[in-house]
């Protein structure tokens, strides 16, 4: 009964949070900026693809294609493209599986892993701090627990992020089909649909970072700085840990760090079939742990 009451409150708060995001244009801004960033980066990627295709064509003594994507069959077997994709997924073992996806679907997951953390952390950093500052949070806190409030805000932000990721998939599909030579649209669409959950799961720990920062301060701006700093910090920690893992001296420490940063689990999201689900589960758990870290402070704070 108590669990049901808690769950009910979480859903009510999530719904209200979502409505607030829509009413304050936060959702529209997030989706628009994320969509624009996706469109712009897709356009650049398509042009890079065209440049690689032209290089392949020159090597084979063929006439360069007018639009990028006209010779993808040959492209996926070229060494330069395989190197590019291997660099994107960070692993050689599943390269052939990934190369069986539509090229734009590969880019979709890659750009999602790169961009979504920034947008997710930035958006969720505003989920609590401003309301604590304006004391608006008191209206809800009188009627539900602090844990339910935080969980509700997290769920609201997570739903908002599904919206942003889905719109970015549509944008990418549109830009890709417009800028590239005709592709198999249905295959691309299906691939994007199947990859969208992977992108979303990867964003969860970063929503957690934003929400954790939002629980620590009453300033939305400061919460955003903390959240984006945390995102940058995880990338740096990931890079350093990967380098250190190859040394004897810091191998153990780097292994520990690699378990704790979401980026280390991104490689698992490229796994074919349902092989990506364990990494998605770890990302979800990391999100919960990060939010709980903020909650340790929030649960005792005077509001």
């Amino acid at each position: 009964m108590a669990l049901w009451a808690s769950l009910r409150d979480v859903l009510h708060i999530a719904g209200f949070e979502l409505l607030r995001a829509l009413r304050t244009w936060q959702a529209v801004a997030l989706v628009a900026v994320y969509g624009l960033a996706t469109a712009w980066s897709t356009y650049i990627f398509v042009n890079v693809l065209g440049a690689i295709e032209n290089e392949v064509a020159r090597n084979l003594g063929l006439v360069p294609a007018e639009h990028p994507g006209a010779m993808l069959d040959r492209l996926v077997t070229s060494a330069s493209f395989r190197d590019l994709v291997e660099g994107m997924i960070g692993s050689a073992s599943i390269l052939d599986d990934v190369l069986s996806w539509p090229v734009l679907a590969i880019f979709y997951l890659w750009i999602g892993i790169g961009l979504l953390p920034l947008f997710a952390a930035s958006s969720s950093a505003d989920a609590l701090a401003g309301d604590v500052y304006s004391r608006a949070v008191r209206f809800q806190l009188l009627r539900t627990g602090r844990a339910e409030l935080v969980a509700g805000r997290f769920v609201g932000q997570a739903v908002l992020s599904i919206l942003a990721v889905s719109v970015s998939a549509v944008v990418l599909f549109g830009v890709g089909t417009w800028a590239m030579a005709p592709q198999e649209d249905l295959a691309l669409a299906l691939a994007l649909v199947s990859i969208t959950p992977r992108v979303w799961f990867f964003g969860l720990p970063f929503i957690g970072m934003g929400l954790a920062a939002s629980q620590l301060t009453v300033s939305s701006a400061w919460a955003r700085v903390l959240a984006l700093g945390a995102v940058a910090g995880t990338w740096i920690a990931y890079g350093v840990a990967r380098w250190a893992s190859s040394t004897d001296r810091y191998a153990v420490l780097s292994d520990v760090v690699l378990q704790a940063v979401p980026q280390a689990w991104a490689a698992g999201l490229w796994q074919p079939g349902i092989g990506w689900l364990p990494s998605a589960l770890v990302c979800s758990c990391l999100a919960v742990v990060i939010v709980l870290g903020g909650f340790l402070v929030f649960s005792r704070r005077n509001l």
Partner: protein, 308 residues
């Protein structure tokens, strides 16, 4: 505990570890069904005390008993406690109805019941016609009334209103006072305000605090001595000697045309007042005003002045 809707025992609070004590061993009790005036100067600790009851702040020492529950627990008190927090910003982009329905749902009401309740409380604060308007489009006074309505959602047993009449024009304040007074006996209401004249007309219990401590509490008629004091406003100087001779048990104090009559316990004050009027009439002194008891404001100033 029985009979008390709210009790604070030796509650201490400071906002920072080394900051001053905002509540200093505060002890107060509000009986069930009372309409309580919570009175104090700026910075006396009224808002802090209300925030502690609402669970927004956590006491460093002491105990808070709310409707028989020890300490604030949002789930055990769900729907039983309403608080109007001071200066809390409403969600401006939502309509008043959406906001109040949401609070109703959080209090455990079903979808339909929450909608009915939102409409009811908007009616109570005379905003039924503006429920669909975005809160951002409402005037300051209207927003204040929406905030008051939020504390009344679900008809809670105990309602704490921190400055509910602040910023309202006289007709709005009168309407809200009447609406709050109409619930007398059905629920316990604790109202803080600097307008003691307003509170006096609404309340039957009073708690006065100063520098974080309770300096006086009790039934309003006891605190302002309505059963023992009569204040007269006369057209000319009061005949003190004649009055003291006629009613030797009474204490008469005069200041030019103002006369204060204090009766001993157990005396029929109605009978005594008739005797005073006979003496005044015999001397041709017109009575311009009579008031039973001291004004709450005067009592408060006397208390705070004497403690300070």
């Amino acid at each position: 505990m029985s009979g008390a809707a709210l009790e604070l025992h030796e509650v201490c609070f400071r906002y920072s570890r080394r900051g001053p004590l905002v509540l200093d061993s505060l002890r107060m009790r509000v009986p069930t069904g009372a309409i309580c005036a919570f009175v104090g100067e700026n910075g006396a600790g009224k808002t802090t005390a209300m925030s502690l009851v609402g669970g927004f702040l956590q006491p460093r020492e002491g105990a808070v008993h709310i409707l028989g529950e020890e300490g604030f627990d949002a789930f055990r008190l769900k729907g039983r406690l309403g608080v109007l927090p001071q200066d809390a910003e409403l969600p401006l982009r939502h309509s008043a109805t959406q906001f109040l329905r949401h609070l109703g749902r959080l209090q455990g009401l079903g979808r339909k019941a929450a909608a009915v309740e939102a409409d009811r409380v908007l009616e109570v604060v005379s905003l039924a016609d503006r429920g669909r308007s975005r809160i951002a489009s409402l005037s300051h006074g209207m927003r204040r009334r929406v905030a008051v309505a939020s504390a009344l959602v679900g008809d809670p047993e105990l309602v704490l209103l921190d400055e509910p009449l602040a910023g309202l024009d006289p007709s709005q304040a009168g309407g809200l006072r009447a609406a709050l007074g109409a619930a007398a006996g059905r629920r316990t209401l604790i109202v803080s305000s600097h307008n003691l004249h307003d509170l006096e007309r609404l309340c039957d219990w009073v708690v006065m605090i100063d520098k974080g401590r309770c300096v006086r509490q009790g039934a309003l008629h006891e605190v302002v001595h309505t059963t023992r004091v009569i204040r007269w406003e006369l057209a000319s100087e009061a005949p003190l000697e004649a009055l003291r001779a006629a009613l030797p048990d009474h204490d008469f104090r005069g200041d030019n045309t103002a006369l204060e009559q204090r009766a001993p316990d157990g005396v029929d004050l109605d009978e005594a007042s008739l005797e005073v009027m006979r003496i005044l009439s015999a001397r041709g002194i017109a009575v311009r005003g009579v008031r039973r008891g001291a004004a709450l404001e005067d009592t408060f100033l006397a208390e705070v002045g004497s403690k300070g």
